[in-house]
Subunit: 390 residues, 2 copies
């Protein structure tokens, strides 16, 4: 298989889009990525789209073809990938193989969502389609409940007093808001305090409002080419050196959600493929849909021992400038979480970090980064390792 | 790239599933395909699922992981593809590249749907999410309307009196019901007459009830391996020799829907890749969601000149035993159309035809077959050419 590179990235500001439709958001991000790649739309041979909720939010299925047409690509193959919150990086992983195999030289991959057009109750119902409809839906479970249970289980398993764990969880939110305040694309560009977190409303014990990521609109896209093509287009190609994807069934079939097996399988694939280990990673964008999710993911990716992730936050290990900076973009928590766009936006951030283009939130000397996107109740995890190619 | 083969196929009976969920239907089809391949679930390295409507019908997204878990594959990558009615063959085309590239040796691809759990009005609304939500939905357009317009346009363009065209369209329905009556997996196993068609209720002029495919439940799956692996598993491997996929935007951006451009692009890709021409094809399963759709597709695939497709039906060219047998399975019209399962069921039929296992509906000496799956208002077309490998 051929070496594959990211040559251009684009994303919209995340937040509320009152005027732009999901296709218009996608067009904005895509054209930025195409322009940055020194390409024109007619150079793109295929489009890979991640979108989780367009059926509900704008009443639209088969959106791949419409997305292609929106930016002048009508006629290219344009499959849509749906894996709940991991939809976007599923699309990117798939785009990789079409280029690595030699079938295509230049493709576009990305994702989008426009969720604020739904009311909060309808967003809650829509997001809850990501739990198992026969084993979990009848219990009333939705994602805040799943991650509330995870926090209790994590505290119990590692013998952590809940108030202590809640402090560490709050530190995750504080850090990600601090990072988001330095990211002009972030939904929330405002720092928060421990007091803000503890004064916010209870969502699903022990998760309070500031433990939860917001509902967002936005899009992100990347141009992927063979390494040969990349070298002609840019002097800053970024290679995709590791990929992983795994799945899991209903929660009742998962043994221990404090050690997400789908993540362990996926991350191992990505590390093995790249020949790298967690110690080689300079920067990480991971799936902090809830603060506890960041702690658990930071362990699952191999940065910290199981049960040490919450202490690592307290030590500042995951700050920009820390041992392994996590979510310098602000993460889902502060940057926002337009579901289909989330994975591509993680790749956008890692690419920008490796290129040294992140200004006040730059991780010094970042050469290698990993993304981690999780769908449903750990029912899918996708990991991508990116490496400086110059 | 490596040669890729289909080694096993499975499908449920299509029709109404009162007891089995969409995942249980999928499990039935998949286990048949895996057993027929002389494999066990643990041999499968990845799962590629096409599903269009699970969000609406059973309130389930991120179903790939749950589908994998249902048959003992928990942990494998399991992306879901959504391209409306072409979802299932999108998944198969994608499965191809992961094997052709050498990344995987053995994968499972398929699709499913369980639509009869929705009322007819809700099915109509659900299916209508496949038209463009900003350019077409506000006009009230849904698929019977799109294909009614197509029939009028076809009659006008080729100067055919509408009553004459309606007779040829009825012949499509009569032929496909005749074929379906010989298919134990078909939803409708009953022949119909011209009188039945003309006495049926008007749906969207000139389309009457018997010009339209039904709402269905069902699943189909195939096991795809490298040619090397295939030769160890079966003495009847079937090679995937041609693949095409294309897209289109909203109808207002499509020039002439009597010549579906996305099909012309996709079919050309498949023919070019295989080095074959329409004359080489022995049997065809194509997207007859409405009778007029079969006529238009039979031209777009190169079997007949534009404007000759309706005469070809009258001549009996598309009957089993005719020049190019089309939809010997009964097609969407009589076999049924559980959306995500439709493409995989087309591949199932072509594989069975090439193996000579179709009993009373067998196309004598079939060695090469093509599938044609169309999504939305021509917004996606996928074609697959299969060839006897022994």
């Amino acid at each position: 298989m051929r070496q594959v590179a990211v040559v251009g990235v684009g994303m919209t500001k995340f937040g509320r889009s009152e005027e732009k439709t999901q296709l218009e958001l996608f067009a904005e991000a895509s054209m930025d990525a195409i322009n940055e790649s020194n390409l024109r739309p007619k150079d793109i041979q295929a489009l890979f789209i991640g979108s989780a909720a367009g059926d509900w939010t704008e009443g639209q299925t088969i959106i791949g073809g419409f997305a292609a047409d929106e930016i002048g690509l009508a006629g290219v193959p344009a499959p849509r990938f749906e894996g709940a919150c991991s939809s976007g990086t599923m699309a990117i992983r798939d785009a990789f193989i079409w280029v690595a195999s030699g079938y295509y030289d230049i493709v576009l991959a990305g994702g989008f969502e426009r969720q604020t057009v739904l009311s909060t109750p309808m967003n809650t119902r829509m997001m809850a389609t990501g739990v198992h409809s026969f084993y979990e839906t009848p219990t009333g479970l939705s994602f805040p409940g799943v991650f509330g249970l995870l926090a209790h289980l994590y505290a119990h398993k590692h013998n952590i007093p809940l108030p202590k764990l809640k402090e560490s969880m709050a530190q995750v939110a504080i850090k990600n808001h601090k990072n988001g305040a330095k990211n002009p694309k972030a939904q929330f560009q405002k720092e928060i305090t421990m007091e803000d977190v503890f004064n916010s409303m209870m969502v699903a014990t022990p998760l309070q409002l500031y433990d939860c990521c917001p509902i967002s609109d936005g899009a992100a896209a990347i141009v992927i080419t063979s390494a040969d093509v990349a070298r002609k287009l840019t002097n800053k190609p970024i290679y995709i050196v590791g990929l992983g994807q795994s799945s899991a069934g209903a929660l009742c079939n998962q043994k221990d959600i404090t050690r997400v097996k789908s993540r362990e399988i996926s991350a191992k694939q990505a590390y093995d493929m790249s020949g790298l280990t967690p110690k080689d990673i300079d920067v990480c964008e991971l799936h902090d849909c809830f603060t506890i999710a960041e702690i658990v993911a930071s362990e699952g990716l191999g940065f910290f021992d199981f049960g040490d992730g919450y202490k690592a936050v307290d030590r500042g290990d995951t700050e920009i400038g820390g041992r392994i900076p996590i979510n310098p973009s602000g993460g889902l928590k502060a940057k926002g979480h337009p579901v289909g766009a989330t994975g591509p936006a993680q790749v956008y951030e890692i690419a920008k970090q490796i290129r040294g283009e992140c200004g006040p939130r730059q991780v010094d000397g970042a050469r290698i980064g990993i993304t981690d996107t999780m769908g449903g109740s750990f029912a899918a995890v996708v990991n991508i390792i990116l490496k400086r190619g110059w």
